[in-house]
Symmetry: C2
DNA sequence: CTATAAGCTGACGTTGACGTGAGGTGCAAG
DNA sequence: CTTGCACCTCACGTCAACGTCAGCTTATAG
């Protein structure tokens, strides 16, 4: 598939896909005319990127863990990285849940006390 | 308390506190010499900011919900905003949990397959 | 053959929450 | 009274993940 279709399927912009390639995250073959060609599996791969970005990982960090995904094997260093990323993600989730509780507290405290418009 | 102490107590930089003031989030009285003076309650207030920033809210958004916190009352519009922010936060939490599952899947898949160093 | 939609490569612009450096002032201790 | 740390106000710098525009080429429908 070409870049436009992949963008639609994965729910990102064309620019984003070119950026991922620039960052070494997403390879592509080229047609004789120079246009990028992607396999079907690229869709899931891009969705994975989105998920990792949402988790707060940088392109660099994602690039670091990609070999694990692609080869299905890990070195000791890579296992450490994965564990660190998971721990960091856990912290972030905890933070967000805490923030949600604060927001809920605010909502509850002001729920029945209607202020002036 | 002065700005340096508040920064330490709340775990942010002095620059951040000045920035919060610039954004209308954090007021301060001034000493005769022009230095900022904060009440003890500012510590908790700044921690609240950090929590909201972590939740993905912008300074502007935080400024919008501050009146609810300060007055303990809400207008219909403010309740809508709070609900929207909470919903968005919920979405983000779900994303992160999904990301964590993906990471866990990756870790589990490669856990016992040690690659070359 | 020709529109025209889609793709290409630079390369500069954007945004938010600060970092950082310059150059000067306030304040408690000795 | 001076040392020295904390504080002050500009104001430019940063960083990441793209957005956007220009100028040109490729692919495809009619």
């Amino acid at each position: 598939m070409r870049i436009g279709e992949l963008a639609r399927e994965a729910g990102v912009s064309v620019r984003a896909l070119r950026y991922y390639e620039e960052q070494g995250l997403l390879g592509s073959t080229r047609t004789s005319g120079g246009q990028r060609e992607y396999p079907e599996t690229a869709v899931e791969r891009v969705r994975f990127f989105q998920s990792m970005y949402a988790a707060g990982l940088s392109s660099r960090r994602i690039a670091d863990i990609l070999p694990c995904m692609d080869t299905g094997t890990t070195t000791a260093q890579q296992r450490d990285m994965l564990a660190a990323d998971r721990a960091e993600l856990d912290r972030r989730i905890t933070e967000l849940i805490d923030a949600r509780e604060r927001l809920d507290g605010l909502i509850a405290a002001a729920a029945d006390r209607v202020g002036p418009s």
